[in-house]
C-alpha cells in the first residue's frame, strides 16, 4: 500500500513549545505542568503495572547532554526497571559502536583530530565530510595541504571526493567486496603487518580464507572500482606510516552496517593501522552527542562507560549506587522497540528530543507503530511530527544553549555545554522534568545540577573519573578514557595491542570474515534506480533546526541524477518527477549532478515537511545494530504528464 505525499508545503519555521499539552478526546490541549507531569507518570505506571517494565521504552536523545542521557538511562533502569533505552544513534552510527566494541572492547573512534592532521594517508569511506563534517574536513585538508594522500570511497563524486587524490567509485552496497579485495591484495602482496597480526589479533587464518575469492578482477566486477585503483589503495594503506580510515553513514546505513564496519576494521588489523599515534579508525558522528549517548549507557546493552549490562558484577555495582534492581540482560534497541510496538509488547514510550516519525526509514510505518501505543510522552523544544502523535507533550529547554552539561564528540572529547540563554517561560530543563516524573513514580530523586549528575557518573564510570568540570574547563575538554584526575591518557586508543607483555595487551582483536550481502531492496525492471541519501552543507537532518535561518545555498529537496539518466528519462533541471519505491511515492524536482553515474540517484532528508523522502526509503535493518538501509533503496522515476492549460 502506498501513500502519496507529493504536494509541497512551504512551512513556517517551528516555534518553541512553552506550554505542556495533553491529549483529551484525541486532541492535544494546553495543560498545566502539574497536570501534564501527573498524566505522564500515570501512563507509565499504568502500562508497567499491566504489562511489566519491558512494556516501557525510552528514546533518549543524541542531541542532549551526557548528563541528560545518564539520567534517562538511570530513569529507565532504576525507576522503571527495564533496559529498553536507546537513541537515534541507532539510525546512524550504532554499527560503528557495535563493530568497534566487538573488536576492541570500546565503541569510540580511536584517534584525535590532531592525528588526522599528522597522518600520511587518509581514507574517507562513505563520507561526504566536506559537507556533513566541515570542520573535521578542515583537519583533513591540513594534512592534505601538508602532503598527505586522500582516498575517497563513495558511489558519488561529492565535494569531498573532489579533494581526493583518488576517488574510488563503488556500486552502492559493495563495501565488503571492496574491503575484502583490498585485504586480499595486501595479503597477496606480502604487505601484511605480521608482527601486529601475530601479536594482537586472532582469526587471521579464517579471514584469509574469507577474502581469498575476492581477487582484483572479481572485485572490479562486483564493486565497479577498477582493479588498478583497488590495488593502489591497498598498497598505499599498507605502506603508509600513519594511515587513517574514517567512515560515515555510507558504511553504517545499510542492512548489514555492522558487517561493513567490521570489514573496514579488518583492514586496520591487517596493516597495524591502529593503536599508534596517527594511525586509527574514526567513525564521524552525525549528531553532537551520539558518542556521549552511548558512553552514558543510553543503549540497551551497556551501562555508563561501556560496562556490560549482562555482567552481574557490573549491575551489582550500579544497584548498590542507585538502590535499584537492574536485570543483567540486554534491553531492546530502538529498532526492536519499534517492532515490539507493532507486536503489542511495548505499549508506552518516553521520547526525549527525538523525531522518529520523520527520521526513521519508511516513516509511514513508524507513524502506524506509534499510533498503536497506549501512552506516548514526548519531551521536546518543538511540536514535531512525533510530538503531534503524543498523549503528553512536555516543553523542554534546548540542551546546547539553555542548560549546563557536557557533550562528547567524535574524537571522544568531553566538552562543556554552558547555559547562555534563559529558556522561554514555560519550558523546563530535561533533567528537571524527568526528575519530576521519577518522583511521581515513587523514586526519591532530588533536583540535581548538571555538575551533580556528572560527578555521580564519574563515580561509576572509570572512563570518565578524571574529568571534573573544573578540569574540562581548564583543558578545553578531555578525551576519554580519563581514569585519573592527575594525568591524561594518549590521544589514541588501543595502544595496549602493541604491548609485548600479553597481560598488558589484553583481549586480542579478532578478524571478522563477514559475508557480502547486497542491498535488500533489489533493482528490477520496475525499480531500476538506486536511490542513496545524504546531507547537504547548510541543512541538518529533518531540518527542524536548520530551517531557522535563511541560507543562500539552500535549494530545497531535489532528486539528483546524472545528465545521462536525465536524457534517457527526457527530464530537465527543475522538472518535477514522480518517484516510486516498493513502499511509497513522492514527487520532487530534478537536479542534474555530474558527480552521479547512470542508475544512481540522490536525495537528502532535510525537508520532510515538503517532500518526505523517508516515505520511500527501506526499513531493512542491520540485525546486529538495528540501523536502517537508508543508503540503498530501489526506485523508479516517472516523468509527469504534461499539464494542459
Amino acid at each position: 500500500m502506498s501513500t502519496v505525499m507529493s504536494r509541497r508545503k512551504k512551512t513556517e519555521p517551528y516555534v518553541r513549545l512553552t506550554q505542556p499539552l495533553v491529549r483529551d478526546a484525541g486532541v492535544l490541549r494546553p495543560a498545566t505542568w502539574d497536570e501534564a507531569l501527573d498524566r505522564a507518570a500515570e501512563g507509565f505506571r499504568r502500562n508497567v503495572a499491566q504489562h511489566g517494565p519491558d512494556a516501557f521504552g525510552m528514546f533518549s536523545c543524541a542531541r542532549a547532554t551526557n548528563e541528560m542521557n545518564y539520567m534517562a538511562q538511570k530513569f529507565t533502569r532504576a525507576v522503571i526497571g527495564t533496559n529498553n533505552v536507546d537513541s537515534c544513534n541507532r539510525t546512524c552510527h550504532a554499527p560503528s559502536v557495535a563493530g568497534l566494541a566487538k573488536v576492541f572492547g570500546s565503541g569510540g573512534g580511536t584517534s584525535s583530530y590532531q592525528e588526522i592532521e599528522d597522518a600520511d594517508l587518509i581514507i574517507l569511506w562513505g563520507s561526504n565530510a566536506r559537507e556533513a563534517h566541515p570542520i573535521f574536513f578542515q583537519h583533513v585538508l591540513k594534512a592534505v595541504n601538508k602532503g598527505a594522500k586522500l582516498y575517497v570511497v563513495d558511489p558519488r563524486l561529492t565535494s569531498t571526493g573532489k579533494w581526493a587524490h583518488r576517488w574510488l567509485r563503488l556500486n552502492v552496497g559493495t563495501d565488503i567486496p571492496l574491503a575484502h579485495a583490498i585485504a586480499r591484495e595486501i595479503i597477496a602482496s606480502g604487505l601484511t603487518n605480521t608482527s601486529f597480526v601475530e601479536r594482537a589479533t586472532e582469526g587471521f587464518e579464517e579471514f584469509v580464507k574469507a577474502v581469498e575469492p575476492w581477487t582484483l578482477p572479481v572485485a572490479e566486477l562486483e564493486t565497479g572500482v577498477p582493479a588498478e585503483l583497488i590495488r593502489e589503495l591497498a598498497h598505499a594503506y599498507a605502506k603508509a606510516d600513519r594511515g587513517q580510515l574514517s567512515w560515515t553513514l555510507g558504511i553504517t546505513e545499510h542492512h548489514n552496517g555492522t558487517d561493513n564496519v567490521l570489514s573496514l576494521i579488518n583492514l586496520s588489523l591487517l596493516t597495524g593501522q591502529v593503536g599508534r599515534y596517527g594511525a586509527g579508525l574514526n567513525p564521524l558522528r552525525g549528531q553532537n552527542n551520539v558518542q556521549g549517548g552511548g558512553d552514558m549507557g543510553a543503549i540497551p546493552d551497556r551501562l555508563p562507560g561501556f560496562q556490560d549490562v549482562t555482567d552481574p558484577a557490573v549491575t551489582a555495582k550500579f544497584n548498590a549506587a542507585w538502590g535499584s534492581n537492574i536485570r543483567a540482560q540486554k534491553g531492546w534497541n530502538l529498532t526492536q522497540m519499534l517492532e515490539a510496538m507493532e507486536r503489542g509488547d511495548l505499549t508506552t514510550v518516553y521520547i526525549i528530543g527525538e523525531n522518529p516519525v520523520q527520521s526513521e526509514a519508511d516513516c509511514e510505518h513508524t507513524v502506524k507503530r506509534l499510533s498503536n501505543l497506549d501512552h506516548v510522552v514526548v519531551q521536546d523544544i518543538f511540536l514535531t511530527k512525533t510530538a503531534q502523535l503524543a498523549h503528553v507533550v512536555l516543553p523542554a529547554a534546548a540542551a546546547w544553549c539553555e542548560t549546563d552539561g557536557t557533550f562528547t564528540n567524535s574524537e571522544r572529547r568531553v566538552q562543556r555545554v554552558r547555559k547562555a540563554l534563559t529558556p522561554p517561560e514555560g519550558a523546563r530543563d530535561d533533567i528537571e522534568i524527568m526528575s519530576e516524573i521519577a518522583v511521581r513514580l515513587g523514586a526519591g530523586w532530588e533536583h540535581k545540577t548538571g555538575e551533580d549528575v556528572w560527578d555521580e557518573l564519574r563515580s561509576l564510570s572509570p572512563l570518565h573519573t578524571g574529568m571534573s568540570y573544573r578540569r574540562l574547563e581548564e583543558l578545553g575538554g578531555i578525551q576519554w578514557p580519563c581514569p585519573r584526575e592527575d594525568s591524561l591518557e594518549p590521544s589514541f586508543l588501543h595502544a595496549r595491542l602493541w604491548e609485548n607483555d600479553p597481560v598488558k595487551r589484553g583481549m586480542p582483536a579478532t578478524f571478522s570474515p563477514v559475508p557480502h550481502s547486497p542491498p535488500v531492496d533489489e533493482l528490477t525492471e520496475e525499480f531500476p534506480f538506486r536511490l542513496t541519501t545524504g546531507r547537504r552543507l547548510d541543512s541538518y537532518n529533518t531540518g527542524v533546526q536548520s530551517a531557522g535561518f535563511e541560507s543562500p545555498l539552500r535549494k530545497g529537496e531535489t532528486l539528483d541524477l546524472c545528465p545521462q539518466d536525465a536524457a534517457v528519462l527526457g527530464v530537465v533541471d527543475g522538472e518535477e518527477v514522480k518517484i516510486t519505491s516498493r513502499r511509497g511515492q513522492i514527487q520532487a524536482p530534478v537536479r542534474i549532478d555530474d558527480g552521479l553515474t547512470p542508475g544512481l540517484v540522490f536525495m537528502t532528508f532535510h525537508f520532510p515537511d515538503e517532500i518526505d523522502v523517508n516515505v520511500i526509503t527501506i526499513e531493512a535493518t542491520c540485525p546486529i545494530a538495528g540501523t536502517a538501509e537508508y543508503k540503498a533503496a530501489a526506485i523508479r522515476i516517472d516523468k509527469l504528464p504534461v499539464k494542459v492549460g
Binding site: R130, S159, T160, K162, W163
Partner: protein, 589 residues
C-alpha cells in the same frame, strides 16, 4: 578541489587556446592568461572560467592574478592596443605632447580609443616609444621607437609601414675591448654557429671541467656583484644554494627589466641571446639546479622571439636537456615566462609568486630564496647582466677579471644612457669610469644646452648635480656619495627639462606599480604623489614647508617599514631632488 565555477562559457577561440593547457597546473596560469590575451586581446569571464576549469584554480584567485597585471584587461577592448610610454626618458623626449595629441585625435587613453599610457617600455634610447599589441590567431607586436603622434594614430587605425625591426641602438657596436657587448650588433643573434664561432660555449666547457665548486670558486674570487641593483656577491648566493640538501634547486634569470630608464638587458637578450642561455646553464650547473626560468618582461616581444629561438637551437645541439655536452648527470633546461606588466615582478620573491601562478607580491624575508624560493625550493635569482659576466670570468680567469674595474667593484659594467643626451644607448665601461667620462662617451647634452642633473639608478635611484661629474662609477663611490648605481640608469636632464613634472612622474610610477600588499607603500605612495602634485603645482595644504615635512615623514615610513625594495626606495629619488638638487628650496620659495 571542489571548484565552484561561474556559469559562463568561453568563445570557441578562447576554448581552443585554453584547452592546450589541459593536464597542467597552477603554474601555467600566467601563460594561459597570455594565450587568451594574445588570441582575443582581453580576458573575458568565460575565458577565465575555462582557464580555472582546465588548470583547477579557484576563479576568485585567477581573477586576483589576472587583475594584477597591467597588460591584461578584464573588460572588453579592441584586438589592437597601442601602449604609449609616458615614463621618465620618454617624458623628457616629448611624451606629454604626444599624449595630448592622441587625446585630441583618438580620445582619452583607454579601451575605447585603442591607446594606453604605459610605464617605461625599456626603449629609452629611442624615446618617445610606443608598443602595439595585436591579438589574433598569430599575435603581433610592433615597436614604434622613436615615434610620433601621426604614427601611433596610423597604427591604432590599421597598420604602419615602418620597416625597422625595432632592434636596439648600440653606439659602441664593434668597438674593441668590449666583453659583455662584444657580439651585440656584430653577430647574427639567431645563429648558434655564429655564437660558437665567436667563443660561445667555451665557458660552459670550462665549467664542466671545473665542476660546480670550481665554478663557484672562480665566480666568488672574481668578486662578481649582482647587477640588478642590490649588488649582492654572486658567488655567495650560488654557494648557499648549492649547499642546500633539499632538491630540486631552481635558477631564475631575472629579465623583468622594468626600472624606468633601464634597457641593458634587452640589448643583451636581443643582441646576444645565446650568451644568456649559456650563462644560465653555467649557473644552473654550479648551483645544482635542474631547471631554469627566464622571467622576461611582457613588453619585450623581440627578445622573446630571439630567446625562444636560442633555446630551441641549444636544445637541438644538446647545450640544453639531458647530459649536456656529454656531461653525464648534468641535465638542465630553461622555460621562458613572460611577465605581463608589473614592475614589482622584478623583485626576487615576487618573481616566484608570479611564476607559480599567484599574484606577483613580494614575500617576507627570511626565509631567503637560497633556502625557500621558487616552489618553496632553494633558488638562485640572477639578473641578465650578472649572468653574462660569468662566461667572461670563465674564459679570462678570475684574476684577469678582477683587474677590470676597481678592487671594490670588479669587471665591466653596462650603463643605460637616455634623456637629454646626444647618443643615447647602452655603454660598456669598466667600473670606475667617471660619470663625466661616460657622458662624454655619449656625446653629452645636445648642443647649446646646459646639464641640469643626472638621475643615477632609475626611479629608485638618486640625482647628482653637474658639479659631481667626477664621481667614479663604482658601488663604493656611489654609496659614499650617498647615491646608487642601481641597475645602471644614467638619465640626463638638461636645462630644458621640467624637473617638477619629472618628479611627479616618479611619484606616479611608484603609486602605479605598488603591489598594494603593505600599508606604507600602498597608501604612502599615494600620499607622496598627492604631496608632490601640491608642491609642484604650488597648491600647498597650508604651507609648502608643511607639505615637505609630510613628504619626509611618509618617505621615512616607506623606507623603514615597507616589505620590499619598491616601497623602501620609492622616496629615494624625490628626497635626493629635494636635498641634493635643492628642489626643496625651489618649491618653498
Amino acid at each position: 578541489m571542489d571548484l565552484k565555477l561561474l556559469d559562463v562559457e568561453p568563445t570557441e577561440a578562447e576554448r581552443v587556446v585554453v584547452d592546450l593547457f589541459t593536464g597542467m597546473g597552477r603554474d601555467q596560469l600566467l601563460p594561459a592568461l597570455h594565450a587568451v590575451n594574445d588570441r582575443v586581446g582581453w580576458i573575458s569571464q568565460g575565458a577565465l572560467n575555462h582557464i580555472c576549469r582546465v588548470l583547477h584554480i579557484p576563479p576568485a584567485e585567477a581573477y586576483g592574478v589576472a587583475s594584477f597585471y597591467s597588460l591584461f584587461s578584464l573588460t572588453e577592448r579592441p584586438a589592437k592596443v597601442v601602449h604609449v610610454c609616458v615614463d621618465l626618458a620618454c617624458q623628457v623626449n616629448g611624451a606629454k605632447a604626444l599624449c595630448d595629441r592622441l587625446t585630441d585625435e583618438l580620445g582619452p587613453a583607454g579601451a575605447k580609443s585603442g591607446w594606453l599610457r604605459s610605464p617605461c617600455l625599456g626603449v629609452c634610447e629611442k624615446a618617445p616609444a610606443a608598443l602595439a599589441f595585436e591579438a589574433g590567431e598569430v599575435a603581433k607586436e610592433q615597436l614604434l621607437a622613436p615615434t610620433h603622434a601621426g604614427e601611433v594614430i596610423a597604427v591604432a587605425a590599421a597598420g604602419s609601414s615602418r620597416s625597422d625591426d625595432g632592434r636596439a641602438e648600440m653606439p659602441q657596436a664593434g668597438s674593441p675591448g668590449l666583453r659583455l657587448l662584444k657580439r651585440v650588433g656584430v653577430v647574427d643573434p639567431e645563429s648558434l654557429d655564429d655564437y660558437r664561432a665567436t667563443g660561445g660555449y667555451t665557458a660552459l666547457r670550462t665549467a664542466l671541467l671545473l665542476g660546480p665548486s670550481g665554478v663557484i670558486r672562480e665566480v666568488t674570487d672574481a668578486k662578481l656583484m649582482g647587477r640588478g641593483g642590490a649588488a649582492f656577491p654572486t658567488g655567495r648566493k650560488w654557494d648557499a644554494t648549492a649547499r642546500q640538501p633539499v632538491r630540486p634547486h631552481y635558477l631564475v634569470c631575472n629579465a623583468d627589466e622594468s626600472e624606468p630608464g633601464t634597457f641593458k638587458d634587452r640589448l643583451l637578450m636581443e643582441g646576444d641571446p645565446f650568451a644568456v642561455i649559456e650563462s644560465m646553464t653555467i649557473a644552473g650547473f654550479a648551483a645544482g639546479c635542474s631547471k631554469g626560468y627566464l622571467y622576461l618582461r611582457g613588453e619585450y616581444p623581440r627578445a622573446l622571439h630571439l630567446l625562444r629561438n636560442a633555446i630551441a637551437k641549444a636544445r637541438e645541439r644538446n647545450f640544453l636537456g639531458e647530459n649536456i655536452m656529454g656531461h653525464e648527470g648534468f641535465s638542465f633546461d630553461i622555460e621562458i615566462r613572460r611577465g605581463a606588466g608589473a614592475y614589482i615582478c622584478g623583485e626576487e620573491t615576487a618573481i616566484f609568486n608570479s611564476i607559480e601562478g599567484f599574484r606577483g607580491e613580494p614575500r617576507s624575508k627570511p626565509p631567503f630564496p637560497v633556502e625557500q624560493g621558487l616552489f618553496g625550493k632553494p633558488t638562485v635569482v640572477n639578473n641578465v647582466e650578472t649572468l653574462v659576466n660569468v662566461p667572461v670570468i670563465l674564459t679570462e680567469g678570475c684574476e684577469a677579471y678582477t683587474r677590470i674595474g676597481t678592487s671594490g667593484s670588479t669587471g665591466p659594467k653596462l650603463f643605460c644612457l637616455s634623456g637629454n643626451v646626444s647618443r643615447p644607448g647602452v655603454y660598456e665601461v669598466p667600473f670606475g669610469t667617471t660619470l663625466g667620462a661616460l657622458l662624454e662617451l655619449a656625446g653629452g647634452v645636445p648642443p647649446g644646452r646646459e646639464l641640469r642633473a643626472v638621475l643615477l639608478g632609475g626611479a629608485a635611484g638618486g640625482f647628482v648635480r653637474p658639479d659631481e661629474l667626477d664621481l667614479p662609477l663604482t658601488l663604493e663611490d656611489a654609496r659614499a656619495a650617498g647615491t646608487t648605481l642601481g641597475s645602471g640608469v644614467v638619465l640626463v636632464l638638461d636645462d630644458t627639462a621640467d624637473l617638477g613634472s619629472f618628479l611627479v612622474r616618479i611619484a606616479a610610477f611608484f603609486r602605479d606599480e605598488s603591489c598594494g600588499q603593505c600599508v606604507p607603500c600602498r597608501i604612502g605612495t599615494v600620499r607622496q604623489e598627492e604631496a608632490m602634485h601640491r608642491l609642484v603645482g604650488k597648491r600647498p595644504l597650508s604651507t609648502s614647508a608643511q607639505d615637505l615635512q609630510l613628504l619626509r615623514e611618509v618617505g621615512q615610513v616607506m623606507r623603514d617599514s615597507s616589505i620590499c625594495g619598491l616601497g623602501q626606495t620609492a622616496w629615494n629619488a624625490i628626497e635626493s631632488a629635494l636635498d641634493r638638487l635643492g628642489y626643496a628650496e625651489e618649491a618653498t620659495s
